[in-house]
Chain length 355, copies 2
């Protein structure tokens, strides 16, 4: 088994180092190989996703990814910007199924913007389609408008699209995931306006026939954005497209108040996966040794479960993380009165000790 | 001056009746004419936006709109569904500038899902472009995929697009609005992924040169969805496209916890406008006399200010609404211990008395 380790930019290096430390402490048999990605790769090799990094990622069973991006790359042409690495990896490896849990840890309930009773025990799973939609649809670009409000003016355009099999496979992923949870799926669309999401709704409804034990409901994306604020615990599994999933999964993760705790997984149909924290590269705190490594450590646990067939090892990591929280250890992002403030490395060490 | 009164479906009739009562009590000179719209129009005339209703709307200086929609129309073909009336009115009248305030009233702070300190005094204005984007872009439809992940499969597609002048005019509306407020505009885009929103960002940045007294920042839509939950008071004016604005304005209105209080305005370049509550037709409580008419009454105030050139009358209504809240009167949606529960008609009467 091979893990490609891509730390990336900002706090990426620091948090991935802790996850690697935890993985090594498990004493399992796998190879790890590190390569640059994002801004770091642009600096080293002139491209955010160099050939060699992509080749490593393709050859690996799983990718442990830190984060990419920094303000200093904002002025680069779009194809050279750090985030192109992540879009490139998703596309090249066909990582169509993005799992984004939004979990509120008991000890961190107070950190949420929401009233404690609305988020205590929150455990929802957002499944976002990750290789289709307006992210990758062609044609796109700039041109002279021939119709619309201002014919003759310069316009820019993108294409939203989904095919039947693309929708069906992500719907099945959602129904299967719901079976292992509370057996409820909410499919989020905008079928009242978009052709793409009328097909989405039709295909999800058809696929549902094979999962009579799972309850399905449909919700418009604007309403979903509201219901997440109003009563997040009413959801179990949410399945939606790439664009809506981008927005709703970030909204949901912020509801927990502890985005530094949330892992994510992006899988293809061969169970190859990219695992990364839900948060970003946080250049403002990079190099200071204060970043929270737990989201990355929990991403490593997802990796063991989904791609490396080591569910017991995944359980061990998750139990260890709960233990360090119970011990009162907190990085600054989740610190509150009466707990013990620790840095990135100390937090990683504590998880290793708790294993 | 002529007002087209379009009550629509569900609670629409009840709440619009109260707004009309308040308008009449002001004793100003304008004509009001009522017409069916949405499901009610489909029942009466076979179409959600009959010719006669559209003609009335076009000939009026302003439209007072209730709400449209009911589950019973879900099975109709899309062109006949109630929400097509609202899309049709926006398009036919060129109502490109949608104003959606998210205000947290002092007495209702506790009703928010968010902790009181995060929303007390909240006053943000979302300006959503309303006649462009993927809502109206052509081509759209179904076809056989020729490329992508599953060539040969059935796919559905839509076109996102914005032209330079469309972006520029809504940006100017936002900068002008900010001038009358805290002079800060946040432009929300997804320039890291979409061609359309790279142009959006470029044009907003250029238009900003004419408003050096207004501060401008840019934020990705996923981040905006998070920051609204984390620190909503950090925003002043948010300007964004039709699709992102649909999602973010609903998210923001729910943050206040009292969506029954939030008005909206949709204007064209001749200051003709459509005024409607931010909430929907709520078929579950229709006909029970319990709907909150205040969002509609406050929409009538916006109408007086923006389209009918009666700012003093608008102020009078807004002051009257604050007065009834101070008197402790509450419809069920905003009721809490120690206040007085009233119905739709009583609330309307109270506003009239407070004028
Ligand atoms: C960086 C960006 C391209 C990316 C996305 O929009 O998918 C990010 O926001 C995410 O959610 O992983
Ligand atoms: C009913 C629907 C078409 C509409 C929209 O998406 O614009 C509604 O959600 C709104 O925000 O006014």
């Amino acid at each position: 088994m091979k893990i490609a380790v891509l730390p990336g930019d900002g706090i990426g290096t620091e948090i991935v180092a802790e996850a690697v430390k935890v993985l090594k402490a498990l004493d399992l048999k796998f190879e790890m190989e590190t390569a640059p990605v994002g801004g770091a790769a642009y600096e080293a090799a002139g491209h955010p996703l160099p050939e060699s990094t992509l080749a490593l990622a393709k050859s690996a069973d799983a990718i442990l990814f830190g984060a990419v991006g920094d303000w200093k790359y904002d002025k680069l042409d779009r194809p050279l910007r750090p985030e192109q690495a992540i879009l490139g990896l998703r596309k090249a490896l066909g990582l169509f199924a993005n799992f984004r849990p939004a979990i509120c840890y008991e000890q961190l309930t107070h950190a949420s913007s929401l009233k404690p009773e609305l988020v205590a025990g929150l455990d929802i799973l957002i499944i976002r389609e990750l290789t289709g939609d307006i992210y990758f649809g062609q044609p796109r670009g700039r041109r002279t408008a021939v119709d619309g409000h201002f014919p003759g003016a310069e316009e820019a355009f993108d294409t939203m699209r989904y095919s039947r099999p693309e929708i069906e496979r992500i719907a099945r992923v959602a129904f299967e995931a719901a079976r292992k949870r509370s057996k409820r799926v909410t499919s989020v669309d905008k079928a009242n306006v978009l052709e793409t999401f009328q097909l989405w709704k039709d295909v999800v409804t058809e696929a549902h026939k094979d999962y009579p034990d799972v309850a399905l409901d449909h919700m418009y994306v604007d309403n979903a954005a509201m219901q997440l604020v109003k009563a997040p615990k009413a959801f179990d599994v949410i399945v939606t497209g790439n664009m809506f999933g981008d927005i709703l999964s970030d909204e949901a993760s912020m509801l927990t108040g502890s985005i530094g705790m949330l892992p994510s997984a992006s899988l293809n149909d061969k169970k190859q996966g990219l695992y990364e924290p839900s948060h970003g590269s946080a250049p403002d705190i990079a190099g200071k040794g204060v970043a929270n490594p737990l989201a990355t450590i929990l991403s490593a646990a997802m990796m063991l479960r989904f791609s490396l067939n080591q569910p017991e090892a995944a359980d061990r990591i998750e139990t260890a993380v709960k233990k360090v929280l119970a011990q009162g250890l907190r990085t600054p992002d989740i610190y509150s009165d009466g707990t013990t403030k620790v840095g990135t490395v100390q937090m990683g060490d504590a998880v290793v000790n708790a294993l």
